[in-house]
Amino acid sequence: MHKGESARLGRDLARMLKGGVIMDVVNAKQAKIAEQAGACAVMALERVPADIRAQGGVARMSDPKLIKEIRKAVSIPVMAKVRIGHSAEARILEALEIDFIDESEVLTPADPFDHIEKSTFKTPFVCGATNLGEALRRIHEGAAMIRTKGEAGTGNVIEAVRHWKIIRGEIEILKQMKPAALAAFAKREGVPTALVSQVRADQRLPVVTFVAGGIATPADAALLMALGAEGVFVGSGIFKAANPARVARAIVEATVHFADNEKLAAISEGLGEVMAGLEIDSLSTRLQERGW
């Protein structure tokens, strides 16, 4: 299989996930709950972001044993996280033939200079972004899918909304730009002008774009879907809730029926306690500031 083909196939797999919910899981049992609740993929990691935040320490790629157990437990695609710039962790996941790699700011970054050169891998990558330039740098490096960073582990949706609106707004602004301004934008952001021109013409990123970071309720998912997001990642929001299976199912249904008020009301009723959540101003570490 040549490089162009695996790049296209990675983008195609991302298209199959659209309109779906990708859930963080830390073991095979949680993976099964997620699949039964209607997750379109699971993200294997050692600790959910809320615990990484609370416990501190360096957060790394999961043990391959755990990833294998999770894959055995489910039939949906399995994703796993690696640290920003940690191409050796990525090579380990490539050897495990994982379906998707998330080069994630939720883990402790490994390289202060470079993100992973993703186009050299057969496994597709998803990466976080807070603005258009960052999204385009990741796509230029080979990312097959983009997600907002939001602020993981907070149960607070404001940063995901911020990043989504910034990316959308910057794409919109490209329309007004003359060729010289477009070239200057591309140069400033360190991406090819042709890529910026493509985004300007299509009025969207060339890859599927999900939202992530702080989504904790069905209404949060519906809010972002109504803003045009193509799907949702939920991290701590599910397994930090009192009734994970119920909340997981409700978020899946809200992602499908985001435009239907009556359905949303029914879906949101009686879910039990959802994750507590944190104010952004109270945080000592902002995960969204990792990567560039």
Binding site: M1, E5, R8, L9, G10, D12, L13, R15, M16, L17, K18, G19, G20, E35, G38, A39, C40, A41, R71, V74, S75, I76, P77, V78, E97, I98, D99, F100, K122, T123, P124, V252, T255, V256, H257, D260
Partner: protein
Amino acid sequence: MTVGVLAVHGDFSEHRSVLASLDVESREIRTLEDLAPLTHLIIPGGESTVMGGFLERTGMGKRIQKRVAEGSLAVFGTCAGAILLTKKITGKLPPHSLKLLDATIERNAYGTQHQSFEASITVLVVRPKITVAFIRAPRFTKMGKSVSVLAKHNGDPILVRQGRILASTFHPEVTGETAIHALFLKL
């Protein structure tokens, strides 16, 4: 003719783009009410467990079965859609099937994303060859007598038809290929 694409999850917008390039209007289908006026329904690629559970919970699965039995609805499923149409599903955690295609299909039969591939295929009555993608694809392992095979790849049936039911294990929609959709609209 009224054409709809099940828009629960998966690559429904790619199917709609293919239909648009054939100058065919289409609508997104999420409820029983949406389903009522249709003559042609496409079940897209995605995760069959997600869409299968949805069809079961909402009663849409039963309605689709009834409409097909009456002869008032043609259905085309790609990849996950093909799985949901097939009577017998093997592999881990088989989803609820609509049992509209007399065959056996194995989910995720080729392996992980590393075994996904593109291929140039020959389809009966379609010329010339077309390029399509197989993404974590299923594989038909058994066919009933009333099922006809319209295309094969490496000996495996990849496009099959039974009456007004059409199913492909590949995705013609991601490469923008229109021939299979044109074939479906004639059913």
